[in-house]
Subunit: 499 residues, 2 copies
Amino acid sequence: MTDEASPRVRAALPRGLVDRAPADIAAAEAMMVKIRAVYELYGFEAVETPFIEYTEALGKFLPDQDRPNEGVFSFKDDDEQWLSLRYDLTAPLARYVAERYEKLPKPYRSYRAGWVFRNEKPGPGRYRQFMQFDADTVGSATPAADAEICMMAADCLEALGIRRSDYVIKVNNRKVLDGVMEAIGLGGAENAARRLTVLRAIDKLDRLGPEGVRALLGAGRKDESGDFTKGAGLDAAAIERVLAYTAARAKDNAATLVALAAAVAGSPTGEAGVEDLREIAGLARAVGYGEDRVLLDPSVVRGLEYYTGPVFEAELTFETRGEDGKPIRFGSVGGGGRYDGLVARFRAEPVPATGFSIGISRLLAALRAIDSPIVAGAARPGPVVVVVLDRDRLADYQRLVATLRAAGIAAEMYLGASGLNAQLKYADRRGSLCAIIQGSNERDAPGGREVVIRDLRLGAELAKASKDRADYLELRQKAQFAVAEAAMVARVREIVARR
Amino acid sequence: MTDEASPRVRAALPRGLVDRAPADIAAAEAMMVKIRAVYELYGFEAVETPFIEYTEALGKFLPDQDRPNEGVFSFKDDDEQWLSLRYDLTAPLARYVAERYEKLPKPYRSYRAGWVFRNEKPGPGRYRQFMQFDADTVGSATPAADAEICMMAADCLEALGIRRSDYVIKVNNRKVLDGVMEAIGLGGAENAARRLTVLRAIDKLDRLGPEGVRALLGAGRKDESGDFTKGAGLDAAAIERVLAYTAARAKDNAATLVALAAAVAGSPTGEAGVEDLREIAGLARAVGYGEDRVLLDPSVVRGLEYYTGPVFEAELTFETRGEDGKPIRFGSVGGGGRYDGLVARFRAEPVPATGFSIGISRLLAALRAIDSPIVAGAARPGPVVVVVLDRDRLADYQRLVATLRAAGIAAEMYLGASGLNAQLKYADRRGSLCAIIQGSNERDAPGGREVVIRDLRLGAELAKASKDRADYLELRQKAQFAVAEAAMVARVREIVARR
């Protein structure tokens, strides 16, 4: 890069951060209206926490914290206490609930949408600021709460126009996994770190396949770039047992439960975990959510460390083609699970909790790919532009604008310094349906003041049309015509109604 | 405070940060819908920037930056570059526009709502995170753009239910002030710091009165706590000239313009500033916005340093009584102005711009005080609660819930561990309209499955009613009754419709 030694500031964003265009904002808003309606139908109510919390209150639960400030944006307050930007919406909710536990109705159901921040290496589709939309039930230990979360996640995706066969809510249970750990001698607090390594290895099954996971469970793995990731150091028998467990998914939930029961045989934790899954799948099936929607899948892990029981993953199963023609799978667009220990960090008594988080930005990309009407229909036409021909007549033009606005029609007076053609081009770029023009001819019209209305869409057609067309004159008359000022609103409404 | 030496994390927020309750979220959302509609009626389109920017891109424009990190939350990125949380929405917009200036239609009109952060000493009603809702026109130098912003601000307040006599949009011009500075010998770049001190002294007119400002323009001022603020060091004649200028507001805009013209006589900058104000007031009056709504007021300064021309302040003029009976004036609920130099920080050519920012949190408090229907009507009833009597019948209860939800009625199965009475109390606390109860009697009813529907509002009335009342039995029958499962949805709808 050449440095021009300019004193000027560079207009750029730090990497991993992006601006949002009007269509993105409207689409995300349309999505959130749909999701909010589902959450409220399920009895959840809105509550929000601020973006900044005490670092200690958020805790350290992010995966792969191998960078200096461990995935979180942090800074010191004036009183030398560490503050952080929230990295998810769950940790702040735990603080919120703990702070006013006595006052809240219990179980406490709440939802919130909000931006979260990760100080991670950005990549394609991976940002340092992104939006999540969460719902959580705090104070309920029953798997019925987990089952409900799964069904609600399915309902959200369908409310967004994703077809029943195009997604699945996968369910696993950390307790089942813990049972397998116990069985291979990795139980107990002293093995927590190694368990975590095993967990993260399993989490990469989708991306690396069984062979990659096998390496990560053993000595370690060198990736394509040559970087080496240290493994969990399990022996061959333990590795096979873990891999067999991850492959326990069978033709239906009932068969998976049989396979899982075998995998955890002898471990009370594991057996309790399988019972949870049996209850979740059973309750879901009772109201019509079979394994086509709520699917038991032992390969689901979830990266966050605070999960203690059932974990969920909302996965899109369809493929689309990218611009390069290559198939794209969107994969996970949300996830969650039970985090019974998170509120207890603040309080003496245990407080069970479960929740789900939808990744809005990721889901938006997926909805775009399937041309969902929810995100496609969000764009709106631009305002009517009142052209300025005589600069000493601004008050007249301002009156025309005020008349249109008073009628509920979005309108503006052109505020730049350019001439008629540039003004019409501006209106085109704004996506305006029509422009209003008033020069001295219109002002001094014998029958009283007039305006010229130019239908910009028809005007564009006209510009392309052959003058030999039979209806050319008719088209020209419709594309631009003079009317009395008093008729302006009615004629503009006609043009708006045509589009 | 007693320290229990507990290893537990304290559940608390850093000072100056607050959680948002459901009613606050709904009220702010209702406000933003109204404001957005006005902004769009004026031809502005949504665009958003992220929360984090390069510190350098945001610049240093906050007033009173006498604390270590100067009012802004800042932290270093991995590449050692300083990042900051945005302190307003204007500085990021300038970066946004500069980055894609060629591609944008010009003038560029956009709006955005968003949280901003100030690392300042919090106080009553003064938070370190708060929401603003801005609209800006970039690329237009004409005072018509400023006039439009003022009218739009007025329309926003009226759309929010604030009556015409209860607010005013005050307008001043930095150029007029610069003219006064020139006249007292404070022109030129070498006097920038002293001009700023004068500006800030004037800004305190409302709070300190003319005597306090007189002290700040001279040697300095000691406040009630004994803290001394150094003054601008003007001589007596200069002080009187500045104070005379701040008192130039006359009985109407025309008279104010006469007084201002006298105050800046001989200063070309000042005279140009008065012309701007004349055009703004004239255009506003032409479409019916007289000084009852758009009022020229030389005492308006605005704290932010980036303003270069007209500045605006939206002020609520009514008084309410606080809980202690003392009168409360809400004062400023928004402001803005012309910032012709902000985009130019990034670019070679000058880019004029003007905008306005509504303080959502502050305005919400004011709307609450006048019982605005926009914020009051935002609360909604809670979900129908399906009581759980027999824990081995969860699937049955889940089916009842699913039936209600399928009918579009917000509903939930009770997910806690308590008995019937506690469950009904829970439903009350959620603000539910009714509860659904099904025990073995209902399940085994001779005519087929039934449910008991309990109207919780009527139930509360019944509990308070005398048993001697003529209609007591009728009331009791209406407050709780058994119906066939198939009739549940219809009867629940009746109860919902009654409220």
